[in-house]
Symmetry: C2
């Protein structure tokens, strides 16, 4: 069984990546995270396809189910409160375990419920999207304010992550693009060999499967685990995981969440950050070649023309990493090597103006 071990200050846990592991999910969870009661928080689309067979893998009968509507809109106070009331109705106690079965939205929401119910109970993640490989490592859980994504949350590490790549075969291509962007990000900031491998291996997002898929996820998860272990609370180098995210988040916020996937927005941010890195450091990162590769995979790399520079800038300045009008921006000093640098509003406007075509 392919495992990545994640060590944090408070907890050590495994991310299991294995074709078909879903068929033994219940028995593995019962062994690694035993509990008198489980609460399964499941995405409604995932429930349609997999709920029945998933529940059959448990020998424990007390598995209470709460179904959550698909989509970013569910990371709301209304869903958060409702799920906490469910916890109470199901009589979960401190030795109960919450299982998050779905994409990143479910992981974030269920993790925040688990992290705050009775001041924190255990949880297990069963991600169902490619993008969720990213949020399932690192313990960041959150819900959204109406005006700010992931503005409310905490760090709460799972007991176990079970990742079955077979689930990904039915994902729409848009979701592949979203998840693959975060994988490419890991390569850009931390592993040039992995970047080279990806560029050689992946010429279409519909053709990644089998051992290549497992290997790709495992590598991205291991890279992320390595960074997170060094900086659990995001006080330093963990910040480099935000490569492409400052602009990406701003684009998501301006277009309205859901109009573009997280990864697609981040990819636009990465293309921008590649160019900015080249100019600011006066180096060649082959940005044109990478941007062409992104486009060949079906990505849009341009900042949407409908968005105003001033609006994007104002969004970026609301970023959690902004301080006193200066952003700490993730750039590359080389392929596979990230740096975090202060960037002023003026520099950003200049760069955005160039990238948006000089108007």
């Amino acid at each position: 069984m392919m495992k990545v071990n994640v060590c944090t200050d408070k907890k050590t846990y495994d991310v299991v990546i294995e074709q078909g592991v879903l068929n033994q999910a219940g028995s593995i969870i019962e062994k690694v995270a035993p509990a008198s009661r489980y609460m399964l928080i499941v995405d409604e689309q995932v429930a349609t396809h997999y709920l029945e067979s998933f529940l059959q893998t448990f020998t424990q009968t007390a598995v209470h189910v709460s179904v959550v509507p698909s989509g970013e809109q569910s990371k709301s106070f209304a869903q958060y409160e409702r799920l906490l009331n469910d916890c109470f109705e199901y009589q979960l106690d401190r030795s109960s375990v919450i299982i998050a079965f779905g994409g990143g939205v479910i992981g974030d929401l269920a993790g925040f419920v688990a992290g705050t119910y009775m001041r924190g109970i255990s949880f297990v993640q069963v991600p169902t999207t490619l993008l969720a490989h990213d949020s399932s490592v690192g313990g960041k859980v959150a819900i959204n304010l109406e005006k700010g994504k992931n503005m409310v949350g905490l760090f709460h590490q799972p007991e176990l992550v079970l990742y079955d790549p077979q689930l990904l075969q039915t994902l729409p291509e848009k979701e592949w693009r979203s998840g693959f962007a975060e994988i490419v990000k890991m390569a850009f900031i931390a592993d040039r060999d992995f970047l080279t491998w990806l560029e050689e291996e992946v010429d279409s997002l519909t053709s990644i499967e089998g051992e290549s898929l497992v290997r790709m996820i495992e590598r991205a998860v291991a890279l992320k685990a390595r960074i997170v272990q060094q900086d659990e609370q995001e006080l330093g180098i963990r910040g480099m995981l935000n490569f492409g995210h400052t602009l990406g988040h701003a684009i998501e916020a301006e277009l309205g969440y859901g109009a573009v996937t997280h990864g697609e927005a981040v990819l636009i941010g990465m293309a921008f950050a590649l160019k900015l890195s080249e100019r600011k450091h006066n180096i060649d990162l082959a940005s044109d070649r990478y941007i062409a590769w992104f486009q060949s995979l079906g990505y849009t790399v341009q900042i949407p023309s409908s968005l105003e520079i001033t609006d994007l800038l104002s969004q970026m300045m609301k970023d959690k990493k902004a301080r006193h009008g200066t952003l700490h921006y993730v750039l590359l000093s080389a392929l596979g090597k990230a740096t975090i640098e202060p960037i002023t509003a003026e520099e950003l406007v200049a760069e955005l103006t160039v990238e948006k075509g000089g108007h």
Copy 2:
């Protein structure tokens, strides 16, 4: 200046207990917890009397104020969400500091906001009630579910606690009774000498003032700090702080929050636990004398006759410390010495039946 230093895994901070310290609150906070922006979350009644003079003690101009209605009802999801939106509107960032200015409700609510906004920012507590001496040490913050008190929260330690006993002089007697119950509790579970001192010193709740008041609060805070330091996450001995609370919480829940103060309900629970301890351990704890003392101070010591034993029991079994139908109950093995023991529903019913007068 009278200080108690609290050491936790993550943080070390001072509880300053000093007559008139409110007059220098701003400058102390600016020194100990410097920030580019402050958000002051203040109880509306406290605001009426003290807001203007409090704000004048700051040299920093960016002190944003959010006023919260008085009472337990404010520990709601609605207030929680509203305050988080305020944080965002005020553009608080990770280097901002939230100040909780009010009683236990404000400390719990503002602390939970601080603990989850951007996954946690710093906060300072300025308690205004006697009861709040208790909740301001230990880092427990929470809001309520409609059906369960403090069911949603986390551990988030403040940077500083500023306690001005002068604020207590205007408290209604009911609030003195509420706060004094938690002080007596500390003595019962952890410090027999303190218990003796209290019994000699306090023959009326309206006569505690000056140096006696400071000394009393300081001792209770120091005792609590000692216990919390040994067990920050409430995995073991910290549980003894729940002396009187299992029944107390059940009474509060059954009567409806606000119908009885927290401390008054806890005191009924302590009278009950004293009797239960005597019977179960076959010892003499002078319960009759203590109960007479409580009554002389204006406390009701009987379980309200309107409450049904079955309803109380069902509330107690929902307690966060309940596991699989057995409660972990805090009893005394001697005055000043607590133990935590499993108690079954049957034993509780028997004891409740005796204490409620055999019907």
